[in-house]
């Protein structure tokens, strides 16, 4: 039987801020994207006691906890800690999956006996984190025989806990858990199950599969039955085995609603630059371009699939701008998103033989070299002049693992 650990850094962003600034220790802290932002993206355990949760508005957090301290996020800091966390865990097994910026799976089936057993490994990892990252950074560890149950186990004793789900206690844990406690079952499906009178795993097991299929279609009932028994055959995806990215994207929420045409254009151009840069860094190009816009209670999304592949921000922007124009957007804009999909390795694509295109490629290489040497947006499109540059940042889900991990992992000075 496998032994899988799920390690989850507690209140990650807020804990890192408390570690960096000891005056915040023991105080309710809410991390926001930046000054002027209205959403709390992470709360310290002290703030959570007042009901402050991720995603809550700043004004709501203040109402729940008037003494809350807001701190702007520093994703470079958090990602540094993530890399350190990965390095520490990798000492105990090479079978490691980075699930998100603050979660890992570790398969210690083959290595646990080398380190004195499962519980010894868990204690050692916690000690190493405290010693090498900081005493205020803690992690909760779930132990079980598959990924699904290990992830459920890590939620049971938080913060700084260790809990094991065994075949013996599995049903007790599942039956006392909410449906959405299990990874893979979201609120939309939960609602649909609620409408069928199913509110827990005990009930879910009893319902005949054909009854579920009549309401949910052919795919979900089988999956749900497996979830109700905590069954999961998935294997860990190691860092070197992360499937190639199929798309790259970047989204941005403006500080306030805007009808400023130039700002919208500059923001989209900025996002196109990042998307193109990421594709180039991975040696890829894409031919599906999409743009998403939200604001004033409306939203729209368009995409276009080309017959050729692009990795040039300017060319991507031309398509994005034409798609945006087609929306004939009236009213304010608050959120913009750009993505480049159907990514293929450039080594598999036809080489450009025309001089103009080859010069453009060389120009892009030179621009990338300058920006990598002197900092992002050292050189940038003219349309971004006099506008705030939106720099790339790590996101909580590490959706761009393929981009971030192979290039930076284990490079800790």
């Amino acid at each position: 039987m496998q032994t899988i650990l799920h390690l989850d850094l507690d209140s990650f962003f807020a804990s890192v801020e408390q570690q960096a600034n000891p005056k915040l220790v023991g105080k309710p802290v809410g991390v926001i994207k930046g000054p002027g932002r209205t959403c709390v993206i992470a709360a310290s355990k002290e703030a959570k006691k007042f009901g402050v949760k991720t995603g809550i508005k700043v004004w709501e957090a203040k109402a729940l906890c008037p003494q809350i301290i807001f701190v702007p996020a520093d994703f470079d800091k958090y990602f540094f800690v993530t890399k350190k966390f990965i390095e520490i865990c990798s000492r105990y097994s090479p079978d490691l999956e980075v699930f998100s910026i603050d979660e890992l799976f570790l398969d210690i089936t083959q290595t646990k006996d080398l380190f004195g057993g499962v519980w010894k490994i868990c204690q050692k990892i916690k000690q190493d984190i405290r010693k090498e990252i900081g005493q205020h950074i803690t992690c909760s560890i779930g132990i079980s025989y598959n990924r699904l149950l290990a992830k459920l186990a890590s939620k049971i004793k938080k913060p700084d806990g260790i809990f094991e789900i065994t075949p013996k206690n599995r049903d007790g844990i599942l039956f006392s858990s909410k449906l959405t406690d299990v990874c893979g079952l979201g609120t939309r499906l939960e609602k649909r199950l609620f409408n069928l009178g199913i509110t827990d795993f005990k009930n879910l097991r009893k319902i005949p599969i054909d009854f579920l299929e009549a309401s949910l279609g052919p795919f979900w009932p089988g999956q749900l039955k497996k979830l109700s028994y905590g069954e999961d055959n998935s294997v860990l995806t190691r860092i070197g085995e992360i499937p190639r990215m199929k798309s790259v994207s970047r989204t941005y929420t403006l500080y306030e609603d805007t009808t400023n045409f130039n700002l919208i254009k500059a923001t989209l151009r900025n996002l196109c630059e990042e998307v193109a840069f990421k594709a180039r860094e991975m040696g890829m190009a894409g031919r599906m371009i999409g743009v998403a816009v939200r604001g004033g209670g409306q939203e729209d999304y368009r995409h276009k699939t080309l017959k050729y592949f692009l990795d040039d921000g300017e060319e991507i922007f031309k398509i994005v701008w034409s798609l945006f124009s087609l929306m004939k957007w009236l009213g304010p804009v608050r959120f913009l998103g750009v993505w480049l999909g159907d990514l293929r390795s450039k080594s598999n694509l036809t080489i450009n033989i025309f001089e103009k295109e080859r010069r453009k490629e060389k120009l892009l290489m030179a621009l990338d070299k300058i920006n990598k040497t002197f900092g992002e947006f050292t050189i940038y499109p003219a349309v971004l002049l006099n506008n705030k540059k939106i720099k790339s940042e790590v996101n909580g889900f590490l959706g761009d693992k393929n981009f971030r991990l192979p290039y930076s992992i284990f490079k800790i000075d």
Binding site: V16, Q19, A20, N21, P22, K23, I69, D76, K77, F80, V81, I133, G134, N371, K372, T373, F374, G375, E376, T378, I412, D413
Partner: protein, 79 residues
């Protein structure tokens, strides 16, 4: 709560076991003995690597930054 400073400082540091650790720094003609390094991390700005240290002294907690390419220290902020 925190105050940004961004001033150059003089620092005495040790290099031990592959780690850089500031020990004492001088800011505005005053010496500050570092009692403990509470946190450290690094980030890249282009090819420049900056190492940040949150340090505790008798007078409070400061953040120092060492620029590896420029070989210089800066007091970035006071917490």
């Amino acid at each position: 709560m925190e105050t940004e400073i961004l001033e150059k400082i003089k620092v005495l540091a040790t290099f031990e076991n592959g780690q850089l650790r500031p020990v004492v720094f001088q800011w505005r003609n005053r010496l500050y003995k570092i009692l403990r390094v509470v946190f450290s991390y690094s980030k890249n700005i282009g090819k420049e690597k900056i190492f940040y240290f949150s340090v505790g002294t008798k007078c409070g907690v400061f953040e120092l930054a060492f620029n590896r390419e420029k070989f210089s220290w800066e007091l970035t902020r006071i917490f």
